[in-house]
């Protein structure tokens, strides 16, 4: 117990020193004038420095920064608006170009369709003409062939008659007989 009590007494043992040294320093009024004098001097100097130099300077720096930030923000907003405008203009011109392209394509299609139609019609009429010519020549050939067939049949009939009767029929009789045969 005594071991712990000793340091306590030593630490708090300033009472005799205080009694010997005089008043408690913060309450020693003989130092007041000097402290007030130097406080007035140093705080006065500080107030002068702060109000004339530091405060206006820091205030202006802060205001300037605010201004810088505001102008930068305004510039950014302006740039954005410009970009948007440009994008809109681009879109509009793109739409226009698209419409243009579409109309060109439509024109081309219509034109080519008309051309194709015209060509087809020409080809068709040509073909029709060729067909009718061919038909005509076929009819002619058919008639010719038919005539030939009559001759051959007449020959064959006269040969048959000659073989059977020994006497060739006259041409008039043959013609007559053919006519009667084809009419029957």
């Amino acid at each position: 117990m005594r071991l712990i009590a000793v340091p306590f007494m030593m630490a708090i043992g300033s009472a005799p020193a205080l009694a010997a040294g005089g008043a408690f320093p913060p309450f020693d009024s003989s130092t007041f004038a000097g402290q007030l004098f130097w406080l007035a001097l140093s705080f006065g100097l500080l107030f002068l420095l702060m109000s004339k130099v530091a405060v206006p300077r820091i205030g202006s720096v802060l205001a300037e920064r605010e201004g810088t930030i505001e102008t930068a923000l305004a510039a950014a907003a302006k740039a954005q608006a410009g970009a948007e405008e440009q994008a809109q203009a681009l879109e509009a011109s793109l739409g226009k170009a698209k419409a243009n392209a579409q109309s060109i394509a439509q024109d081309a299609r219509a034109k080519s369709n008309a051309e194709i139609d015209a060509k087809r019609k020409a080809v068709e009429t040509e073909l029709a003409a060729k067909m009718s010519a061919a038909e005509a020549s076929i009819g002619e050939m058919k008639a010719k062939a038919m005539a030939n067939v009559e001759d051959i049949a007449k020959e064959a009939a006269s040969a048959l008659v000659e073989q059977l009767t020994g006497k060739a029929p006259t041409a008039a009789a043959l013609t007559k007989a053919f006519k009667a045969g084809s009419e029957a």
Binding site: I4, A11, L18, Q35, W38, S42, M50
Partner: protein
């Protein structure tokens, strides 16, 4: 016994003369207290003037420190008094910076804490109340004294209320001075006492095993004292703002 390790927690508050200066029979000698006042002014000026000399839009360390202090005090002042209070800004800023720096410099071992002397804190308190009175009377004339006459009080009660208001107004500088003084004095004495315990226990042989206990306490107290050093400067400043608000907007 052990006179070499004797610890006097009051010794740190004693003024030591650096050089004598006694005009007109007044003792205005330059002391360790004066020295630390000048150091405080030098430190504040270094941060707020040398630190901001470049005026950069993107601040360096010192400049952002100065700007932080500026914005802190400005927000405290405008928060209490509104925009009109900014005309007192240089005064409030100087006050806060001086008290805060003096308190913090006092935490350096061996340094003198100028704010641990009641005459210094009393001088600040009287200065604040003088500014409040002058600003109030200049700004509002006799209307300023309406501060002492609360409205909506029955007539017979009014004299008592006026007395109470006057007493409360007079007690403002006293509480302002004693709060800062008491906090700084008590904190430094406590630090010294617990530091003294450590030294005394080490010197007391077998009890030295107990020495870490007051050491831990001294460490915790040191941290607390740093907080108190800031907090008391802040309290002093915000109360100054509250009193200035009365000068700007008197009447309840």
């Amino acid at each position: 016994m052990a006179s070499g390790t004797e610890i006097d927690p009051i010794h740190q508050f004693e003024l030591q003369k650096v050089f004598e200066f006694k005009p007109f029979g007044l003792d205005l000698s330059f002391t360790n207290s004066s020295l630390w006042m000048i150091i405080a002014v030098a430190v504040i000026s270094f941060v707020t003037i040398i630190g901001t000399s470049k005026r950069s839009v993107v601040p360096g360390r010192l400049q952002s420190l100065a700007e932080m202090a500026y914005e802190f005090v400005a927000s405290t002042l405008t928060g209490v008094t509104g925009k009109e209070g900014m005309k007192f800004f240089p005064f409030v800023f100087s006050l806060f910076m001086f008290v805060f720096t003096a308190n913090m410099l006092g935490m350096i071992p061996g340094a003198f804490t100028t704010t641990s002397h009641v005459i210094v804190t009393a001088a600040f308190a009287v200065l604040v109340i003088s500014v409040v009175l002058i600003a109030g009377i200049v700004g509002h004339g006799s209307h300023f004294f309406g501060l002492f006459v609360p409205s909506g009080v029955p007539g017979w009660l009014l004299p008592f209320m006026v007395v109470i208001e006057v007493v409360s107004f007079i007690s403002r500088p006293i509480s302002l001075a004693l709060r800062l003084f008491g906090n700084m004095l008590a904190g430094h004495i406590a630090l010294k006492v617990f530091g003294g315990f450590v030294a005394a226990l080490i010197a007391a042989g077998a009890a030295a095993v107990l020495a870490p206990l007051p050491l831990l306490l001294a460490i915790a107290l040191t941290a607390l004292e740093f907080l108190v050093a800031f907090l008391q400067a802040y309290v002093f400043t915000i109360l100054t703002c509250v009193y200035l608000n009365d000068a700007l907007h008197p009447g309840h």
